[in-house]
Assembly symmetry: C2
Homo-oligomer: 490 residues x 2
């Protein structure tokens, strides 16, 4: 257990806050609900961005940038969208400040009131579809596969670092298609990309499915999602991909001349993941000693700590380390040599453990004599002495092993916390204890709401690959054709 970190068992929520603060990932800012993402946290986000951006580009998407501000009237154009988004948002009403003549203080200049208020984007469907109207004339202009990396603002009252903040960073894809089928296929392709990224890079197993109508994105016909189980038994929605039908095309009058020479409305998708993923990463793998990072997303994969009593020893170790670092870098491993002379090895060990660096090497004078190095794994906290020969190759393998192990551990945890329940009393009890609960549901919004009111559990998703199974709704006893996944969620 690391100094200054509350244990998970004691208080999971406090443990989370401690990890974010002590691992130097982010902090609250002077602006209500907004966070400062510190360099180490931002470096993780940059890794995530780089991988996802590559995946989007490989599948034909291009990046672009649309305005931060959206005219208020745009939100009124898509009826369900405005209900979902335009209410809790930052509103720009003026464009100038001035010195108050009496007090000398800076005040809003009432002469500089905007004719129409501007909303700081909570999501960009409206402003983007307003642009697409001019970009799309014919089927030759389709598909249009655009992504944007941007900041967005949703005025959240209860905020938590990374998980729920007023301003957050994300990517939002907005695509336009000739046919319903092609748009649905796109939404599903992105779901697959998100799931692959979560599992192969974040080491975080996810369920894939669609949302119940109640939980759909405001303006969507279908919302695909990936859901992951956090260590405290609560679910976290890690990414969503929406099939929007022709809703936005109709709201913004975006028509194209089809192959049959007819004017038709365009079919749309939108999809996004955000800095929330960093919260999911923390709550999937970390322990009471601090952060645990999957090697593929760790800004520093290997840290080397010299153990020495005098500068002569340090010089000899540093000379050896120079060679090792070259070897590791040649294999694409990011490595840091922590040769600070103001800190003792024990302090350094705790610090890098806290920051989740997957592998720590320690090298002392005896190692130099014996041609060895001490290798410590962050995931299992195991140490072993290895021969220095082929050390880069050995570490490449070890990092892969750690990546696998982290995933397996999370997978086993989810497996152990997945339940099939057919009885209302058992359901309530189960939900109270956490985990994913597969249960029958009668398909009505009323039952969904009642279950939520009584247990705080929501339908996380309707499994994509769920098999048909006749049953009775766990709440209403009405007939059901398959199970859905319930959980309490972040």
């Amino acid at each position: 257990m690391a100094k200054g970190i509350t244990t998970k068992e004691e208080n999971y929520s406090q443990w989370y806050n401690d990890i974010v603060r002590k691992a130097d990932l982010a902090e609250i800012s002077a602006v209500r609900g907004s966070m400062v993402i510190k360099p180490y946290g931002y470096a993780i986000w940059e890794k995530m961005q780089s991988v996802l951006d590559g995946m989007f580009k490989e599948t034909g998407h291009e990046n672009a940038y649309f305005p931060l501000f959206i005219p208020k009237s745009f939100f009124s154009k898509e009826a369900s969208h405005v209900e979902g988004f335009a209410k809790e948002c930052a509103v720009v009403t003026h464009y100038r400040l001035k010195n108050d003549e009496k007090t000398g203080e800076i005040v809003v200049d009432e002469d500089a009131k905007l004719e129409e208020e501007l909303i700081v984007r909570p999501t960009s469907e409206t402003i983007i579809w307003d642009s697409y109207r001019n970009w799309i004339q014919s089927y030759r202009d389709l598909p249009l596969l655009i992504n944007q990396w941007a900041n967005v603002v949703r005025w959240e009252m209860r905020t938590r670092l990374f998980l729920r903040t007023a301003e957050f960073l994300w990517q939002e894809g907005h695509t336009a298609h000739e046919t319903r089928e092609e748009a649905v296929k796109e939404a599903e392709l992105i779901l697959k990309i998100y799931a692959d990224f979560a599992e192969k890079w974040m080491g975080m197993p996810v369920l894939k499915g669609v949302k119940s109508p109640n939980e759909r994105f405001a303006g969507a016909i279908e919302t695909y999602c990936i859901e992951s189980l956090m260590q405290d038994g609560k679910a976290l929605q890690a990414g969503t991909s929406h099939f929007l039908g022709q809703n936005f095309a109709k709201a913004f009058e975006v028509q194209f001349l089809s192959r049959e020479n007819k004017l038709e409305y365009v079919w749309a998708t939108s999809w996004g993941v955000s800095t929330r993923l960093i919260g999911a990463l923390i709550m999937s793998h970390s322990d009471n000693n601090g952060l645990v990072l999957p090697p593929r997303l760790a800004p520093i994969q290997v840290v080397i700590v010299p153990i020495y009593k005098n500068t002569g020893q340090l010089d000899a170790i540093s000379e050896k380390v120079k060679g090792i670092m070259q070897e590791l870098k040649a294999k694409g491993i990011s490595v840091k040599y922590d040769n600070r002379d103001t800190r003792k090895p024990g302090f350094k060990f705790s610090e890098w453990e806290l920051k989740g660096v997957p592998v720590r090497l320690a090298i002392g004078p005896r190692d130099l004599e014996n041609g060895t190095v001490e290798v410590a794994r962050r995931d299992t906290l195991e140490k072993e002495i290895l021969q220095m020969a082929d050390i880069a190759e050995k570490l490449v393998n070890l990092l892969e092993k750690i990546q696998d192990n982290i995933y397996q551990k999370a997978f086993t945890f989810r497996d152990n916390n997945t339940f099939y329940v057919d009885n209302w009393e058992a359901f309530k009890e189960r939900i109270e204890q956490g985990g994913f609960v597969y249960a029958h549901w009668d398909g009505t919004a009323e039952t969904e709401q009642k279950i939520k009111d009584e247990t705080k559990a929501t339908i996380r998703l309707i499994p994509i690959d769920g098999k048909a199974e006749a049953g009775k709704c766990v709440y209403s006893d009405e007939p059901s054709t398959g199970r859905v996944v319930f959980a309490r969620a972040y």
Copy 2:
């Protein structure tokens, strides 16, 4: 001269707008003063980001992210800063909309008025230094070398795509140091990075210098800058690096325990370049046929157009092209095969010329027979027939040659439009015709202002490497110790 592009000679400003629109770089949006950066324009920005980000990281800088919103009171803390920035800005006053009970329209909810207004950042010194107060306690915490990639908003009344927009994208570095000397060195290091980037990547020669007190950044002790000459003889400020002294440390109470165990205020710099660089790039190299891109920043470096009469010929060409593309990609060249069957070669030639792709290959049936390819350079519009053997190697060399030529051409242009003037009548005449004018100045703000009022010329910079030269101010006849650079500017 390309279809739909006004010639430079006819109307430079219209030519610029036409290039931006026809090359599909950006467009005005529905939000006053804000632009949409389209995929091709954004791809250039991504290239710029990637190179600059690498340069910053190589010199020890890390990225982080700070809030979009800044509490109004923060601006009042640094007196000159507020005068420069807080006036023309977007002000968030409310955090909720609601349906009007009578009309049903969406209106601002007056019950959701913020206690303190939030300013959408025009630049982030204040919010960042407010954070630094908690990050810096001791000299061990210094230097702090942070950069942020972000959007900022300055409420400009007269906007032009890329050059001056209400919202723009940029990077802003904010560093903290133990000593004045170290901070000055940092500001100068960044100036060098900016100049290297402009010259080696953008192919745009720049002058390096410092601003006159009048033209300094609001809150700076010294503003370093790079200035470039556009094709119409107007100057463009392409990047600035500010030595901020202890102004922000004092405003936000950021002190550190020095090596001598004394509490001292931290020394600061800030620096930035923005999407304005894309405007500079356009106006440095492009011609009446469209955009001309330096190979090092071109999203597509080589485009291949097949010349065919039937699908048999196309298939044979495509087979050959497949091999060429592999070779080019192996050399790190980005290449596109334009095999659209809906467009004729002539159309494609114009389109890629318009979009500034540095090299165009055309391959027809006769080329297949002869083992040749037609190679067209965008910068000179020259064509030649080359043997296919070692084509990748030849193109690597050609791209380098084009990069050099673009720079040399811009350099020669600047050289031909740089003047030394010692007489007020000659000065006025010269300024009217454009170019950089080196002239003596008496060092007073009054004279600077009068020159500006009479000629619209400003002091672009005081050269860093300017040699001492006794002379008389071109306006006032008062003594001067060296020449400064005047020009009309964007």
